[in-house]
């Protein structure tokens, strides 16, 4: 085995398939997209090199800022909702005294395995302004807060769509946090118990601080999912009313597939990739920098 490890030819041969596959399905499309972002290109003809023309146009485009704002709203709500409620749910089922915790664990995870189309249709019914669950609840409670949830041009629509995504993926974050919490050695809790700490204090002082690395991963997932959001808008609002629920991903498909401006679409895609990379780098730089070992 030692001889094998020291043989660079053998190592290269074994690594080559993975490198080639990665190059074909990740590196090549990325580089190709980057190159095409410098062209005025309709996806069919050769295109014309315009340097940073697409990027300059992008930063002057009002729709870019609407999309960017919506991406951040989406990311923020996903983060608060999924990490907040995900933590509460994970800690609830972590507690051995919780009644029916196995059932709860499965129930929390069910939305994750449902198709996004099914989930969106379910919520479309609940958001229906005439006979939807939410407005009916307000009516029953005598509260005059009936909303046209998905047809509002204010931020109501994007928040309404984000809630659906938050609800659906919450179980996934819960599973990550739960798995992280389960790996914390029992003796920390025993020590806390001996010191007379309450459950709340134990979680605040032990569980949550020791989950810093898990939270970092969850945060990266949440923010990138928010910035890349597409499917829920496509099914529920088609980006509307008008462009009020557009995100950068939606703007990219609009440019590439509806306007045949593939070059501009590539520039949006590059901006999106850079945005996600930047956010990931910032999170890695400032959160949970020290690796915890138990």
């Amino acid at each position: 085995m030692r001889n094998f490890k020291n043989n660079p030819v053998a190592t290269s041969i074994f690594v080559l398939p993975a490198v080639l596959t990665f190059s074909m399905i990740v590196a090549y499309p990325l580089i190709s997209t980057l190159l095409k972002s410098f062209y005025e290109w309709d996806g069919i003809t050769a295109g014309t090199f315009i340097g940073f023309g697409n990027f300059s146009r992008l930063f002057k485009d009002d729709l870019f800022y609407t999309s960017l704002r919506n991406g951040f709203i989406f990311a923020l709500i996903l983060t608060v909702f999924q990490l907040g409620l995900g933590t509460v749910m994970a800690l609830t089922i972590l507690n051995g005294k919780t009644f029916g915790r196995n059932t709860l664990r499965r129930a929390y995870f069910i939305p994750v395995v449902l198709s996004v189309t099914v989930v969106c249709q379910l919520w479309l019914s609940m958001y229906n302004p005439e006979y939807g669950l939410f407005n009916k609840l307000f009516e029953l409670l005598g509260i005059s807060y009936r909303q046209d949830w998905l047809s509002s041009m204010s931020v109501t629509s994007i928040i309404a769509v984000t809630m659906v995504s938050s609800w659906q993926s919450m179980g996934y974050q819960m599973a990550l946090i739960y798995a992280g919490a389960k790996s914390i050695p029992e003796h920390f809790y025993e020590a806390a118990k001996i010191d007379g700490a309450t459950t709340f204090q134990t979680h605040m002082k032990i569980t949550i601080p020791l989950l810093a690395e898990t939270y970092k991963i969850c945060l990266i997932f949440c923010i990138n999912a928010g910035l890349n959001a597409f499917a829920h808008m496509q099914i529920m609002t088609k980006g509307g009313p008008g462009t009020s629920t557009y995100t950068l991903t939606y703007m990219m498909t609009r440019s590439a597939f509806r306007l045949d401006e593939y070059g501009y679409g590539c520039a949006i895609a590059v901006t999106l990739v850079l945005q996600c990379l930047l956010v990931t780098l910032i999170i890695n730089k400032f959160i949970a920098r020290e690796r915890l070992t138990y």
Partner: protein
Amino acid sequence: MSKNVKKSISAILSVMLVVLLAACGSNKNNASSPPAQSSEPPASSASAKPSESASPEAEPITYSLQIHYSTDDEKAPADWAIAELKKLYPNVTFEITPQLNDNGEALKARIATGDLPDFFNIQPQHFDSAIQTGSILDLTSAWEASDSKTKMTQNAIDTQLKYTDGKIWAIPYNGAGIDPLYYNKKVFQDNGVKIPTNYPELLEAVKAFKAKGIVTIPIFAKEAWPIGAFFDMFAMRAHPKGMLALSNGEIKASDPAMADAIGKMAELIKAGIFQKGATSADYDTARAMFHQGKTAMLINGEWDIGEMVKDFGADIGNIDFMDVYPTTDAGKEDMNKDYRPGAAEMGGIAVSAKVKNPELAGQIAIALTEKIAQGNFVKAGRIDSTFSVEGLTSEIEMPEMTKKLLANKPSYKVEGTVEHSLPNKKFATGFGELLQKLVAGESAADFIKEVDKLQAETKQ
């Protein structure tokens, strides 16, 4: 678990993976063999030897053809057309590939790669790229030499045949289809509301229905085209081309006549003509409200008549469409009343520039298109043929509303088009989004300002 057991399991899994990959590889090889469509052509397109009447130089020739050929409604007219064409060109055989319902994405890729079928159905949005890349045959001279030109309807010749460069690149077979404003007489009757004949009466009707909790028009405004049809019902009174005139820059939204039409629309929306949540309502949801007899009116295409007959059953007599859209002030009902929202789209059968015997191919494209248009009437009961159907009988029984539509059609003028087919794509996309904002409650003044801005930004 011991290390040996783990190793054994890993080895077995690896072998299974290799076998699976090998299986996938062999499937791919099979898939690269000629497609089923071409190896097993339908009966009508099966290779037939040239008849004895064919001239000696008429060598057998096989062309590839890509048209809508997936459902029975599509296959029957196509088979009929090919059988009729065989009588004219017995030496010509077609290998049919069904066209995908993918908004033309596959065709776009084939234009880019220069891999077009000999004959294919092209949509208007692909003309520019096909012409720029020199992928399609110019059919202008073939058309000029053809007898078929005397059989095409005048509206199709005027609006669908020649592209913006004055040349003919495709022969259209689907003529102008209109978007009627359907209404349910019983809903009006039961609620004591007068069927409107002009704008003030329509506004009164909307208010009356709203007071009773009834939606006047359920609209599926998640898509922009039905809002575009609603827009044109008003805008065409100001300009016969409606939103197409806006797209072409022939009129501005702020011009008094157009601004007045937009003002009326905004007023009706504010009064509650549409259901709440209209911009997130899909086709089925909105349409079902009318088909279940819950709402007063519906904007939809001609194609919905057949479904209405099924859904309303014995009550279909309660359903009709407006002969004149109630969208003008009283006393001005006749102004531009024959102009209808709908589509007289370009596109149709085009020919690849790489086709064998281009001269013959041009003649065949024209004859084939004529037969497809007529086949749609004979076998599918469609009434939007671009060619005369005189002397032909439809095998499909026509509902009363279709008969009325057929009788009225000669007086209808369709000079506009649907929102997604506006030739200026940038304007079309932006305008669709602005229409949604109008339905969501944007004021007429803001809408006009934004349309003027969009028009200036997207001027071609």
